[in-house]
Symmetry: C2
Subunit: 341 residues, 2 copies
DNA sequence: TTAACCTATGACAGCGCTGTCATTACTTGA
DNA sequence: TCAAGTAATGACAGCGCTGTCATAGGTTAA
């Protein structure tokens, strides 16, 4: 293929293909976008000419003429966070092979940044949008509502989707983990959280409600920070926690990085797991099952959220309306040795 | 601002701004792109009109007319790999605030996929390209060479950059780590590697050369797989290694995930670290310093690679020619308890 | 048989912007 | 004083494609 590509650097256009076949440009355009509208004979000839000339449509021209780009804008709050790289993988895997391109925006957990990014996306007349959560600022929310393209909110389930939504209840998931700790006989469960974005907040609330219900909640066993999560921070926070609240016998961590830090620090402090200390993470990253001892965690379906969100978007772009615009993917508590006593 | 934005959903164009100020569209265009070419008075008036009307340039129209998009194409082999999320962070941080947009392609460690992605990028007449490594297929290499835009190859240093290059020598880095193990008195160092992409291969070669030089190389202490890295795989491979080559007294891991798996598995096997077994990772992810015991690793400057690569690209797009088109960022051996005996 | 209706194709304008080449009004130096 | 230069602005065409409407030829139903 592309036998005669770039004969002189000049771009191969629709018109070139059309001339080769002896039809008008618009027919070639149709053959590519709506093959059913073109006779089989021409379709075949055009296909061959496209291959021979190495024709590739110009997305800018297409966007300008159709007033609709092939860009799917994705706004996530972090690109280093494992959680979002999994989500992204799901999105990229699904969009790949479609005519759409992904444009990624990193809001760094800032509402104002999210709004800026959205404005940039909207200037491109995106085909669709994927945004994280439902805690948008009022302005952002309004922009989304008038965006005029399908929109999926991912990572959470909630009441009023702008359009479609795929996620799970962070409150419920953290509640289930907390109840598990209590069932295992832990009587002084603590909560360690970092970054404390809206989803972390809801996880905390889930923990709090469950602990209160069992009569084992204590304010001094809650340790949170606005710093962003990492393993060292988990270790540091846990050391602090044990200094202030030595009665702590279990820790629910806002995520697995923190949990791993707690695991390492507990070992340094000589606390036996799961007897003296239970540890539960959140997200169930691959490493949790392999740790020593293996660490209990709440599995979340991150890649699936990206995949299903994208699929719903594609379906809408394909003119279909999804059976259910509000999908709850749930969670699964993966009980392991770190909390089994 | 945007007092009267979308009075009827119609897009605000250059012409609208021009009419408001009483100048021609081209003057507005110039005021935005080359402010020095417009009188101060008009510049101010135009700036105000832009704000009042909420004008945002249409990137598609701009790309079509100028025959150059504002897209910087980035091709990486994986988005889940921590290494590349760090690189990406460096890139996004640097490009943010410039008029450029990033388009991300995931080649999944496949040459053919890389070529496909590149073709898609090229169809957009990108402003610049960032690609991973220098092991492109001949076709891809040729496409890059005729791309007609600045290009940065990141992650490695090598002989023939297509244009610019920022990275380090994986061979040297792995060699240094191996020599460290030998200096610490380890006499049967093994190598565990997963995925074995070109950079992993070069790390292996660095290990091999150093081990051979010291007379401690043994084929049966090399365990590699094409599976992709994760912690469990590290544990699994290490268990296998110890079954086949029980004399092993140290392990150089292709990356930190594997190293962490080795750490956990060593604990399960009851091997004391660093006495019975030395462990050295690669990349120095944050968690290595916090592990118990802290794990020696080769620090690589991932975010810096993304940052500096982007900066070189931006400089070129700004008409400057970089002082040095071939930057070696080096590495740093972070010696910790896991190999100190 | 004929009006009504499809199906396959084409003509045309225009999406919103920028490259190129004027044009106008000032400076400037000798 | 005037040719030559500079700074600031504008006119115009066209980037490559698609939406819209028109057209030609063939099919259908009554």
């Amino acid at each position: 293929m592309t036998d005669e590509s770039s004969p002189s650097g000049r771009r191969v256009t629709l018109a070139d293909v059309a001339a080769r076949v002896g039809v008008s440009a618009i027919t070639v355009s149709r053959a590519l976008r709506r093959p059913d509208m073109v006779s089989e004979r021409l379709r075949a000839q055009i296909g061959q000419a496209v291959r021979e000339l190495g024709y590739v449509p110009d997305p800018a021209a297409r966007a300008l003429a159709s007033r609709r780009s092939n860009v799917i804008g994705v706004i996530i709050p972090s690109i280093t966070n494992n959680v979002f790289s999994d989500v992204l993988t799901g999105i990229y895997d699904t969009i790949e092979g479609t005519p759409f391109d992904i444009q990624l925006g990193n809001s760094r957990y800032a509402e104002s940044k999210e709004e800026d990014i959205l404005r940039v996306f909207l200037s491109q007349r995106p085909a669709g949008l994927i945004v994280t959560g439902f805690d948008q600022s009022p302005v952002t929310r309004a922009l989304l509502e008038t965006a005029g393209c399908p929109i999926v909110q991912i990572m959470e389930t909630g009441e009023n989707p702008v359009d479609m939504m795929v996620g799970f209840s962070h409150f419920d998931a953290a509640g289930a983990a907390t109840r598990h700790l209590i069932e295992q006989g832990y009587r002084a469960p603590a909560f360690i959280g970092a970054r404390m974005d809206p989803r972390s907040q809801r996880r905390f609330q889930g923990y709090r409600a469950a602990a209160l219900a069992a009569g084992v909640f204590a304010e001094n066993r809650v340790l949170t920070t606005s710093e962003s999560s990492n393993v060292s921070l988990g270790a540091k926070l846990f050391a602090e926690l044990m200094a202030h609240a030595p009665e702590t016998d279990a820790v629910l961590c806002n995520n697995d990085d923190l949990a791993l830090g707690v695991l390492f620090e507990a070992r340094r402090l000589g606390l036996s797991i799961p007897d003296r200390l239970g540890i539960c993470g959140f997200n169930d990253l691959e490493m949790m099952a392999c740790a020593e001892p293996p660490v209990t965690s709440v599995r979340t379906f991150r890649q699936q959220m990206g995949k299903q969100g994208s699929e719903m978007l594609l379906a809408r772009l394909n003119g279909e309306s999804p059976a259910n615009p509000l999908v709850n993917l749930g969670y699964e508590l993966m009980v392991r040795r770190s909390t089994t006593r």
